[in-house]
């Protein structure tokens, strides 16, 4: 097991290298630069700026110097947030996104798995339809509709929670964003759980367990959930990486200083160092979480060996 983890971590190095290289080239090939805007810069001023940011060199030189810098832990300055480096931005934004994301994933796993399991146990009952109806609504209503709706109801009409703002991290400012982040995830996980639990509960080994007279709770929790959770676990790897790195929609509606916005706005602004910074950061998370998922497989289903 340990040697497997070490091998996987070692293989992360070439993976990261490939990601950085492709992302860098894609970014440079895209039309438009960080300083193209409604007001075009006079050529001489543009030249000053390109020189100041080392953008006047050929792409391969920029690439090499970028690699050299990140090896020294320097992700460069932002072109949009001139007073901050990329490292500053990620280090101040990530704790915020991580906190909200973990709450949301926690809620989503708890409610999603519970609701999905209960629905599966009473397949095709009114309860099942109700739960799945809720879940489908959660999926059909996108977060750019759900989030403004929440702020309108709780912030404006009922005035019980702040509409938006971070308020230096006060709890009241986190409730609505966490709910908005969690709702679609709850729905996804409930659907996935129900789907595979329905199958697992029909399986022979569950019939056997029941026939042996084991308590239903033990049958469900010890036996059925183990197999039933596999697809959920597969989904959770990338989903967790996505949720803890924030969401541009949620951040812009609730005015949250997370890092989700950098994925979209960084690209829209052609803020190259920010784009590369979040790509590297996200890649590391994806690699680690997919490793965790692969390890979980062998725990949930002992026949699967981590190899």
């Amino acid at each position: 097991m340990l040697s497997y983890i070490i091998r996987r971590l070692l293989s992360a190095i070439p993976t990261l290298f490939v990601i950085i290289t492709i992302a860098f080239l894609m970014m440079k090939a895209a039309p438009g630069g960080p300083f193209d805007r409604e007001r075009q810069l006079p050529p001489e001023i543009e030249a000053n700026i390109l020189k100041a940011y080392n953008l006047d060199k050929p792409v391969h030189e920029q690439y090499l110097s970028y690699l050299k810098n990140i090896l020294q832990g320097d992700f460069g300055p932002s072109y949009k947030y001139l007073d901050f480096t990329v490292t500053d931005l990620i280090l101040t934004g990530f704790p915020v996104s991580l906190e909200l994301g973990l709450y949301a994933i926690g809620l989503a796993v708890f409610f999603g798995v519970t609701a999905g399991t209960l629905a599966a146990l009473r397949q095709n009952s009114g309860f099942d339809y109700m739960i799945m109806g809720f879940a489908m609504t959660g999926i059909a209503v996108p977060n750019f509709v759900m989030a403004p709706l929440l702020t309108l109801v709780f912030g404006v009409y009922l005035s019980v929670l702040p509409v938006a703002g971070w308020g230096s991290g006060a709890l009241s400012h986190k409730i609505l964003p966490v709910i908005a982040l969690a709702l679609p995830q709850i729905a996804y996980i409930a659907r996935l759980t129900r789907g595979s639990m329905v199958e697992t509960l029909h399986a022979n080994f569950i019939r056997t367990a029941r026939a042996k007279g084991l308590r239903e709770k033990i049958v469900v929790v010890r036996h059925a959930l183990r197999g039933g959770l596999l697809p959920v676990v597969s989904y959770l790897g990338p989903a967790t990486a996505a949720v803890v790195t924030g969401s541009v929609v949620i951040e812009s509606i609730f005015d949250i200083p997370g890092i989700g916005r950098y994925f979209v706005n960084g690209a829209l602004n052609r803020d190259y160092p920010v784009v590369m910074g979040v790509v590297v950061f996200y890649a590391i998370l994806i690699i680690l979480l997919n490793l965790v998922v692969d390890l979980l497989y062998s725990i949930l289903d002992p026949r699967v060996k981590a190899e």
Partner: protein, 305 residues
């Protein structure tokens, strides 16, 4: 936990390999019969059929066009029988009923085709990776990691630069990201399924790997696949509106449900009809896909026969 709860399609086929074709046909025949007995699925298919028919016949259902403003009515105007704007008009005075139906064309096409693309790639890739295992699996999954991490927006922008604007690029762009999670789910299931006795048995009698993957592995992982597929449809329909933002998706004056909903969301209080009608269409469609998906899953489950 030695008992297998898995769909043992092998047993039948091993005993009667020559008759596999006939056997297969009767399997599908059976599945169809059971799908048609599922009331929720049948109702959904009828409703979906009606929506598709309305989308196709959109120009015949109303006197309004999808791109000309009605200068005689409000911009935007609430639903009005008197002015024959059943769903109201948008900020440019265009009839929302007609636009919702035109939007259905793009959204249904995107929903079905992009999901199919992601399904085919994801299932094949995941099953192959999980089944072969070892170094190949490791390598194939690292490619998935790379794909997950690449900035999607630049991918879209570059697609446009190199190929221009084209409706097929939307399917490629969406399919290209949506297959990743599908592949990981299928691979996870495959790792578990391939250790079952019936797969070992198939190996033992010399069934080729390709046959094992497509005959035995994939049918046994279809459950989560169908569920995840019904989750992918809304995702691609809504992501399409983001592609429009970048310039790749549908362009005005044509529209899609994703675009209509994201516009409507901005005016949910001042002009709620702009959000409600397209959202209801989308929701109804998703419910239909969902019930059809569940029906399909049950119908294809050999144990329930």
């Amino acid at each position: 936990m030695t008992e297998t709860g898995y769909k043992d399609t092998t047993r039948d086929q091993l005993t009667d390999t020559d008759a596999a074709g006939i056997r297969g046909r009767s399997l599908w025949h059976d599945a169809r019969r059971r799908l048609l007995n599922n009331k929720a699925a049948v109702t959904s298919m009828v409703i979906l059929g009606i929506i598709i028919l309305m989308a196709v016949c959109a120009p015949m259902l109303s006197t309004w066009t999808y791109d000309d403003p009605d200068w005689g009515y409000d911009f935007p105007g609430p639903p009005s029988m008197e002015h024959k704007h059943w769903f109201g008009t948008d900020g440019n005075g265009r009839d929302l009923f007609v636009r919702t139906l035109y939007g259905a064309r793009v959204s249904l096409l995107v929903g079905i085709l992009a999901t199919t693309v992601s399904l085919i790639i994801g299932v094949t890739y995941g099953a192959v990776s999980g089944f072969i295992g070892g170094r190949t699996d490791n390598f194939m999954m690292r490619i998935v990691d790379v794909m997950y991490s690449l900035p999607f927006m630049f991918f879209v922008i570059l697609l446009m630069v190199f190929f221009g604007r084209n409706i097929f690029l939307i399917f490629i762009a969406l399919g290209a990201v949506e297959w990743l999670t599908m592949a990981r789910i299928v691979r996870g299931q495959t790792l578990s399924v391939k250790k079952k006795e019936f797969i070992e048995a198939a190996h033992a009698v010399g069934v080729s790997n390709i046959v094992i993957i497509f005959r035995h592995i994939i049918p046994n992982v279809l459950g989560p696949v169908i569920v995840y597929m019904t989750l992918t449809i809304p995702q691609v329909i809504l992501t399409e509106s983001f592609l429009s933002f970048l310039g790749l998706g549908v362009q005005e004056p044509m529209t899609s449900w994703g675009v209509l909903i994201s516009e409507g969301a901005r005016q949910m209080e001042s002009a709620p009809w702009l959000l409600v009608f397209p959202a209801v269409f989308l929701a109804v469609t998703l419910f239909c896909f969902n019930f059809i998906g569940d029906g399909l899953r049950d119908a294809l489950d050999p144990r329930d026969r």
